[in-house]
Subunit: 347 residues, 2 copies
């Protein structure tokens, strides 16, 4: 049974025929002829009717635990279909075919699925490894520039906490990545997916503890998405979150100014709107600060936030000062304005 992101179908009009041709060739497999189309983006996870649509099809076509539910799409549709696959008949087999940079280099490789509820991201979900993940660069070619760029933020994130060499590689290759060079993108996707997978496989895959180092920059990102009514894409929100937590690392630790500049400069070079007012923290009443409580509540236990010791190495903290956050946000805002001025003069 195929669940497909409606956005992907419109960009790849031959997709349905290609799938049918594949199954005509490999007759050992039998294909459910109806494809289940789901709109892409957070709407897929916000409205319960899309989950029901998938359950309906699983029931109607008698998809059982030895059958496969394959999903082709961006991260949100993957999360939704993964949740349906993990819970129908207590788990049917599941193949993910991610179609965006973000889902190929991050969520598609992971063990998480879920849907949103009570205005909270992934309030309901499970941990469940897929049976297979296929990353196909053909899908990346038709992405909008906005979606192409958005997913790069997760690669920057994982490089910052795990792999300084990879960060340096991204800095050098920023121009070719921006010019949509597919060879560079393939390397970025593969290295980022590797780093994510290594972390999951070696660590606390089911998150029994309170730490989640891969979520550097994410406490604010989740809240920014929600406050923007999901108009800010996840990857864009992560870029804003990285910038804010980089500034916080600078304000609270002996994190070198030059390293902070490099990070902010790279995000700006990609064109991330990290100075968007939605990410500004101007007072302790700022709703964005609630993102800290919600982040802690989702993981449970002690608040554990990852900031940077240096490029390539994260560190955990258990307290975040709202006043220093305001100071960090302020520093970031001034730095961005300063950079923009320089660019204007330069240009």
């Amino acid at each position: 049974l195929f669940v497909i992101d409606a956005g992907v179908v419109s960009c790849h009009p031959n997709l349905a025929n290609d799938i049918r041709a594949y199954f005509n060739h490999y007759t050992i497999l039998s294909l459910v002829t109806e494809f289940i189309l789901i709109p892409g983006g957070e709407i897929a996870k916000n409205n319960i009717k899309y989950l029901e649509k998938i359950f309906d099809a699983i029931n109607h076509y008698g998809v059982d635990r030895h059958s496969y539910l394959a999903v082709i799409g961006g991260g949100a549709v993957l999360d939704l279909a993964g949740y349906a696959a993990a819970t129908a008949h207590r788990g049917i087999r599941h193949i993910r075919i991610p179609t965006t940079v973000l889902s190929q280099n991050d969520s598609g490789m992971g063990v998480k699925n879920g849907i949103n509820a009570y205005g909270k991201k992934n309030f309901i979900g499970t941990f469940c490894p897929p049976d297979g993940v296929f990353n196909d660069d053909q899908f990346l070619l038709t992405l909008s520039d906005r979606n192409w760029r958005a997913g790069i933020s997760e690669a920057i994130k994982v490089s910052l906490i795990k792999d300084a060499d990879f960060f340096h590689w991204i800095e050098i290759n920023q121009p070719s990545l921006t010019k949509r060079d597919i060879k560079s993108m393939n390397y970025l996707v593969k290295r980022c997916a590797e780093l994510h997978l290594d972390h999951i496989a070696s660590g606390d895959a089911f998150e029994r503890g309170s730490a989640r180092p891969l979520d550097f920059g994410h406490w604010s990102a989740h809240k920014i998405e929600q406050l923007s009514n999901f108009e800010v894409l996840h990857g864009e929100a992560v870029a804003m979150g990285i910038a804010l937590d980089t500034a916080y690392s600078l304000i609270t630790r002996p994190f070198q100014k030059e390293q902070a500049y490099r990070i902010i400069d790279l995000l700006l070079a990609f064109g991330f709107d990290i100075d968007n007012p939605i990410a500004h923290i101007t007072s302790t009443f700022c709703p964005l600060i609630n993102g800290l409580t919600e982040f802690r509540e989702h993981l449970g236990g002690k608040l554990t936030i990852t900031i940077l010791r240096e490029i390539g190495e994260g560190m955990e903290i258990h307290h975040v000062s709202p006043f220093l956050l305001i100071k960090a946000s302020d520093w970031l805002n001034q730095y961005c304005n300063h950079k923009l001025k320089i660019e204007k003069i330069g240009g």
Copy 2:
């Protein structure tokens, strides 16, 4: 956060105060003061509003992954609350306190949870081991005779496929079990739970294969429950299913007549209504036969049904003949009528 079967509260009016007293004593723990009451029985799993009620409370009280959701109740409420715990925040900690014979000796010890959908039992659910299970015999004292008896069928079932000595013990202790001797019941519950747990821990806990030996007698039991609109209790349906599959074992294999008599006699001695017309298979159009297809579909792969080689040893078969099922049902019906006549003459 406590989720409690409303039926248990009415039988144990001090329960809420006892829980509060416990948490007043152990102040290291903090108790959500509201108890979430759920009606007992399949209605809890059939209506989505009860699942939502638990999710609402988890959200409202900020229950997180390091908090515990404890549930006190029969199997249905346990299944429901277990599903909520397994999926809220992708899994919060979970303690089960089963209150019926059936849930103490079987489902409460297991790794399954779920709710019903599309008229199918456990269509949606997960495999998720609880953090703890407390079996307290105080809850058994207030059970109705019907519920006291119903759970005994799972002990008979597991003895038939795993442990001939245990079957013999049940035969000998049938009178004291029927007279509600709590010491005998405690032994029955413990041995049955042990056999279930050993099987789960050593075997295919997440049911990736097609076999499920613990489901001897269950392909028809699930369907009988559904056809009776859940007026037949699970344990009662299992007794009917055991009787039918015992008859099928006799009709299709060199299973000794004397062994079949012992099994049917024991079920009748406990007063199980195994000759109820709902369990009769009189033609190949009998809706009960669809239970085979639904059983296969739930597990996936090849149909795999456990029948008996002898008392204490199950065997797997992959084909069930509807014609021989009719014959088996017929034999069972005649045997029960014969037994009843003898009893009438005797009495």
